[in-house]
Structure formats: structure tokens, C-alpha cells
């Protein structure tokens, strides 16, 4: 049983780590803020989630697991919020996203609303 | 119960009064409370000093934990003396502050001002009384932070930059002290200063201890504005509210000197070799240069407050010379000068505050004809100035006398001459003011000036009078200073 749990947590941790690293690579490789957000979002969600899950398996049914779960929930709440806030701030301050081949006809970002900070 | 807890009460009384002051929204009430508390603190300091003189050092274990595990208050002759200075100046300045602050600080900030003032007092007293190295740092920060605040409340906008500069320098200094304390702790495993003093000789002067020594020295030196590291001081003093200037000028740097003394002689012990080297080869020359250079700079100041500020740096030089000699005479001179200068400079700044209160400026040119219009005030200034110069029968003379004696004892004629030359430079800058005040007629456009209110004049005269009194009756200042010096040199070596 213990071995099973260990292996499971192993797998989860490895997976999480892999996603985290890949996300970080993306953070470097992607060309502009908006696309980097996706990479960052990756580490935030699955990377963090898997690692925490792996730890939860380790922790067993204890306080630790509860706290880990809390952290996870917390991350899942805050991460998109801050990403959204970031995208929103960047977009409304007039940072033009790099776009692909096809124009989807989205409205252009508005002009800067307030004086530059 | 009260008698046994005097050392704690010395600090905690002002400390508990500080938040209470804030709760009293009315500035006058806050002032009354602050004054009452500072008087009580003064009484306690007197009681402590007599107790110490009678029966030797007092140890007080805070929280009931035996040192070195708990924090210990250790009152010996030296710090009882420093406590007395700080508490006395605090009480006098607070008595003085009401009118002065009423003019210089917006009414809504009065209670906050007195809160900060009491905190500053607490901090300085706390630094002086504690026997624990880290506790010293904490209280040092209380006093520093509150003094930044107090300085920034000056009316001139330069008060802000001055406070900021002081903040940066003060924090660097304090951090250096922390590093030093940390290294000491690392080498000995204790924070209690007496314990440190007992353990360091066994370790000897290894590199860590040497580095700790260097950091403590530099840190304290920044705080006390020894010559090359002084540049934060003139502005800070010049633009702070008058009462604050008087208080800080006569206490803050003195307490920093106390820190240095404490570390040099109690912690490292007077025989610590690096110390001797530093003291003789570094501190004395620097202090001598400080005396000469800063006195000269003071001559060229157009603002009397700034002038006195530079003079303060020079006077700190005198104290450091005395300490640098590391002999009984030298230390006596340094400690006595610490006291005498606190009284004198405090008095002078209070007098200056009276002038500012009346004519709203302390530029040299604006003082023309004041000798006639504010005779009592200006006369006090002259007396204080004489003490600053070191004319006989004033406090300034007494300590300089002993100091020159110490220099001659060491065969250090150069320094002896420099001390006397410093007095002459002091003569020049004091006399510039006197001449303007007495011999230059007031311009017609000058505001009508009368004497400052009694509530300001009397405290100023108390200090000026004291500076004369202690020039004549020296058994307290010199006697205690000598006892402290002997204690420092003998107690730890």
C-alpha cells in the first residue's frame, strides 16, 4: 500500500515538475506578454496542482493535507484573477498583442486611459 | 515595590505615557502628561544615580529571567549619569516645548508630536540603561525613528530631506551595529554585555571579533556624527523644530557616544589591542580634525542653528579625543564634556528657539540689534557662548581643562594645541553672533521683538544657568565623570 502511494506521489510530483519546467521554458520562449501568460498559467495550474497533489498523497489524511488543499484552492482562485488583472491592465494601457495570421476582428485596445504612471 | 523596580520604571513610564499621549487628543493635555512623565523620569534618574553612587551597580532582570538568558538592565555610574543627562534635558525641553511647538507645529499634530517626543526619550533612556546588546539596538531604533519623525516636522521643506538623509545614514549606522552585535554573538553565544565582556578575552582578537569591533565602531561613529561621517547632522539640526533640535543636540549624539564607550570599555575591555590602535591612531586624529574643521566651517555659516550644529560636531570631537586617549583623565574629560556640552548646547538651542519664536528666523543678519530688544535672551546666548568657547567659570572650561591635561599627560602637544585652537575658533563664531546682536542696529523693517515668553525663557535659563553652575561647582560633573572613567577602565580590565 505504502509503495503504491509512494509511486503515485512520485508520478504526480514528476508530472508537476515537468509541467512547471515546461511552463517556465514557455515563459522564456514565447514572444509577448499575452502568450507568456499562457505558459505561466500552465505552471500555475497543472504544475502546482500536480505537485501539491503528490504531496497530499504523501501527507496522508492529516492536517498537512488539508493545508495543502487549501493552498491549492487558494492558488486556483488567485492565479486566474491575477492573470486576468495583468492581461486587463496591459491591454487597457494599450499594449498590442502579437497576433497570428488570422485577424479575428477583435476591438483594438483602447488608448491609454490615464496619464502614464 | 517602586524602589525595586526603578530601572524598569525609568523606561516604561515614558513608554506607557507615549500611547496615552496619543489618546489625549488635546495637545495641551498631551503636553502636560509628557511633562509630568519626564519630570518623573528625571526624579527616577536622580534616585538611580544616588543609589548607584551609594551602593554600586544595580542589576534588574526583566521578566524575571536571569541574564544572560533574559534581558538585564544594568545601571552603573556611567549610564546612571547618562540617564540623568537625558532625563534632565528631556524634562527641561518639554517644559519649554509648549509655546515653541504651538508655533511651529500644526495644532492637529500636537499630541502626535509629544508622543513621538516621549518615544524618543524612551528610546534614548532605553539605550542608556540596558545591559543587553540587542536590546540596545532596539531602543536605538525607537529613538532614531522618532527623531526622524521629529526632525521632519520642521517648517522648512529642507527638514524633510534632512530627516531622510538622517534616516538613511542612521539606518546604515544601526545596521552596522547589528552586524557587529551579530558577529559578537556568533563568537561568544551571548548578548549580555557584561557576559560578552567576560567571554571575549578568552576568545582573543580573532578576525571575527575584529570585524565586529570595526562594525560597531563605524556604526556608532555614524550615529554620533564623528567628523567624516557627520554630514547628516547640520541639516537635521538646522531645520528641525527648535525644541527638537535642543533635545536631540544635547542627548542623541551623547547617547551614541555612550554606546561607543560601552562597547569599547565594557564589552571589548580597555586592553583590547585593536581598540587601542584604533583609538590612538584613528579616533584621536579624526576627532582633532573634526574640532578644527567643523569649528572653521561653523564660522562661515549664515544660519545660527547650522552654526551651532557644526559646533556640535566639533564638540563631539572634543569628547572623542578624550575617549580616544583611553586614560582616566581622558575619559573623565570626555564624559564630563558630554555632560557639560549637553547642558550648554541644549541651553543655546533653547535660547535660539526663543529667538526663532520671536523673530521667526535664525539667520545671522536677522539677529541685528537683538541685544537691545531681547536682552535676557541674548545675554543667555552670550553666557552659553562663553561656555562653548570654554571661558573659565563656565562648564565648557572645566572639561576642556581636563581634556588638555589629558593631552599633555600623553605628551600629545599637537592635540593640546588643537583643542585650544578649537576654542579660539569657537570664540570667532560665537562672537560673530554677539557682535551682530549687540553692535549692529536693528533694521527699521525688523519685526517688533520683545522677550520670549517666560515659559520658554525660564527653561533656557535653567540650562544656561546650569552651564555656569557646573563651571563653578564641578564636584558633580567631574566627580561622577571620574568615577565613571575609573569604573570603565578598572571595572572591565
Amino acid at each position: 500500500m505504502q509503495i503504491l502511494l509512494d509511486t503515485l506521489s512520485w508520478l504526480l510530483l514528476i508530472g508537476g515538475s515537468a509541467f512547471a519546467v515546461i511552463g517556465a521554458v514557455g515563459l522564456i520562449r514565447f514572444p509577448d506578454v499575452y502568450s507568456r501568460m499562457h505558459a505561466a498559467g500552465m505552471t500555475d495550474t497543472l504544475g502546482a496542482g500536480l505537485i501539491l497533489a503528490g504531496l497530499m498523497v504523501q501527507g496522508g489524511f492529516t492536517l498537512v493535507t488539508v493545508k495543502l488543499a487549501l493552498i491549492l484552492v487558494f492558488l486556483l482562485y488567485t492565479s486566474p484573477t491575477s492573470t486576468y488583472a495583468l492581461a486587463n491592465a496591459a491591454y487597457s494601457r494599450g499594449l498590442q498583442p502579437l497576433l497570428g495570421k488570422r485577424d479575428t476582428g477583435a476591438p483594438p485596445p483602447s488608448a491609454p486611459e490615464t496619464e502614464p504612471s | 515595590m517602586i524602589a525595586a523596580n526603578l530601572p524598569a520604571l525609568q523606561i516604561v513610564l515614558p513608554l506607557i505615557a507615549a500611547p496615552l499621549c496619543l489618546l489625549l487628543r488635546r495637545g495641551n493635555l498631551a503636553w502636560a502628561l509628557a511633562l509630568f512623565v519626564s519630570l518623573a523620569a528625571f526624579a527616577i534618574a536622580v534616585a538611580l544615580l544616588t543609589q548607584v553612587l551609594d551602593s554600586g551597580a544595580i542589576s534588574y532582570e526583566l521578566g524575571g529571567w536571569a541574564p544572560p538568558w533574559g534581558i538585564e538592565y544594568r545601571v552603573d555610574v556611567l549610564n546612571a549619569f547618562v540617564l540623568l543627562i537625558v532625563a534632565a534635558i528631556g524634562a527641561v525641553v518639554l517644559a519649554y516645548a509648549r509655546r515653541s511647538v504651538a508655533q511651529e507645529v500644526p495644532t492637529s499634530q500636537h499630541s502626535g508630536f509629544y508622543t513621538a517626543f516621549l518615544l524618543c526619550l524612551t528610546g534614548l533612556l532605553g539605550v542608556a540603561i540596558t545591559g543587553d546588546a540587542f536590546n540596545l539596538f532596539v531602543f536605538l531604533e525607537i529613538s532614531s525613528l522618532s527623531s526622524y519623525v521629529l526632525i521632519s516636522m520642521g517648517r522648512d521643506r529642507r527638514a524633510l530631506t534632512a530627516a531622510f538623509q538622517y534616516l538613511v545614514m542612521g539606518t546604515i549606522g544601526a545596521t552596522f551595529i547589528v552586524i557587529g552585535i551579530g558577529l559578537l554573538y556568533m563568537s561568544t553565544g551571548t548578548l549580555n554585555m557584561a557576559d560578552l565582556g567576560a567571554r571575549l578575552p578568552a576568545i582573543g582578537a580573532n578576525r571575527t571579533v575584529l570585524a565586529a569591533f570595526a562594525f560597531l565602531t563605524v556604526g556608532a561613529t555614524i550615529k554620533l556624527a564623528l567628523f567624516p561621517l557627520h554630514f547628516w547632522l547640520p541639516n537635521a539640526y538646522a531645520y528641525a523644530p527648535s525644541a527638537v533640535t535642543a533635545f536631540l543636540a544635547s542627548t542623541a549624539t551623547k547617547v551614541s557616544i555612550y554606546i561607543l564607550l560601552r562597547f569599547f570599555f565594557t564589552v571589548f575591555g580597555p586592553t583590547f589591542e585593536a581598540e587601542e590602535i584604533t583609538l590612538n591612531n584613528l579616533v584621536v586624529p579624526l576627532a582633532t580634525i573634526a574640532v578644527l574643521v567643523c569649528s572653521t566651517v561653523a564660522i562661515y555659516q549664515g544660519n545660527v542653528k547650522r552654526m551651532l550644529a557644526y559646533s556640535s560636531i566639533a564638540q563631539i570631537g572634543y569628547m572623542m579625543i578624550g575617549i580616544g586617549f583611553g586614560t582616566v583623565t581622558g575619559l573623565t574629560a570626555g564624559i564630563a564634556h558630554l555632560f557639560n556640552h549637553a547642558v550648554t548646547k541644549g541651553g543655546l538651542f533653547l535660547v535660539l528657539g526663543c529667538i526663532v519664536w520671536r523673530i521667526g528666523s535664525c539667520r545671522l543678519g536677522d539677529l541685528a540689534g537683538l541685544g537691545r530688544r531681547m536682552p535676557l535672551t541674548m545675554f543667555a546666548f552670550v553666557l552659553g557662548g562663553l561656555s562653548l568657547i570654554g571661558v573659565p567659570l563656565t562648564a565648557g572650561f572645566v572639561s576642556k581643562w581636563v581634556l588638555v591635561q589629558a593631552a599633555i599627560e600623553q605628551g600629545n602637544w599637537l592635540v593640546a594645541v588643537a583643542i585650544l585652537a578649537g576654542s579660539l575658533l569657537a570664540l570667532i563664531y560665537v562672537w560673530r553672533v554677539v557682535e551682530v546682536a549687540y553692535l549692529r542696529p536693528a533694521p527699521d523693517s525688523a519685526p517688533e521683538a520683545a522677550e520670549a515668553p517666560w515659559s520658554m525663557l525660564i527653561p533656557a535659563w535653567i540650562l544656561i544657568g546650569a552651564s555656569i553652575y557646573f563651571g563653578v561647582e564641578t564636584s558633580l560633573s567631574l566627580g561622577v565623570a571620574e568615577a565613571a572613567a575609573r569604573f570603565l577602565l578598572g571595572g572591565a580590565g
Binding site: S17, V33, I51, L63, F74, A85, L86, N88, R93, S117 | -
Partner: protein, 94 residues
């Protein structure tokens, strides 16, 4: 086992740090910092397990929280140049 994960996290962190230093826009930095913060939370959690004292996860929780607040503050500043006014009010009269 935890060690490998920690290593991975450290790599991630250093990459994020690189991004934070490279910029080029402020938003990149914010993003990197935010990401960095998340990684730190994970790192703390892993460290707790590594040292066999996993009961310090509170720190991780605090991290996550503080990181969030910090990011929000930065973004609000970036977007409005003001921290004190309610978002709603700012939206009404920009």
C-alpha cells in the same frame, strides 16, 4: 524524490527570474514575479516535506496570499496610477 521536484522548481524559478530581469515590458516582469511567487509556495511545501517538518505549510499559504495582494497592487498601480480609490469608482470616471 522531493529533491528532484525541488530541483525542478528551482530551475523554474531561475527561468522566471530571467524573464523578470529581461523584461522587456513591465507586464512581463509582473508576470514573472507572480509566477515566481507561485513557485515559491511550491518550494516551501516541498521543503517542508524534505526536512520532515511539513507542519509549516502556513508559510506557503501566506506566500500565496501576499503574492496575490502584491500583484493586484502592482496592476492597479500600472493601470490607474492610484491605489487608494475603489476600482469601481475609477472605472466610472477614468
Amino acid at each position: 524524490m522531493f529533491f528532484a521536484a525541488i530541483l525542478a522548481i528551482l530551475v523554474t524559478m531561475s527561468l522566471a527570474l530571467t524573464r523578470a530581469l529581461l523584461g522587456p515590458t513591465v507586464y512581463d516582469r509582473v508576470l514573472a514575479v507572480n509566477s515566481f511567487g507561485t513557485k515559491t509556495v511550491l518550494l516551501i511545501a516541498l521543503l517542508g516535506f524534505l526536512t520532515d517538518r511539513p507542519d509549516f505549510l502556513d508559510i506557503g499559504l501566506v506566500y500565496a496570499l501576499i503574492n496575490f495582494i502584491g500583484t493586484i497592487a502592482v496592476l492597479k498601480l500600472l493601470k490607474y496610477g492610484n491605489l487608494g480609490t475603489a476600482v469601481r469608482e475609477l472605472e466610472r470616471n477614468p
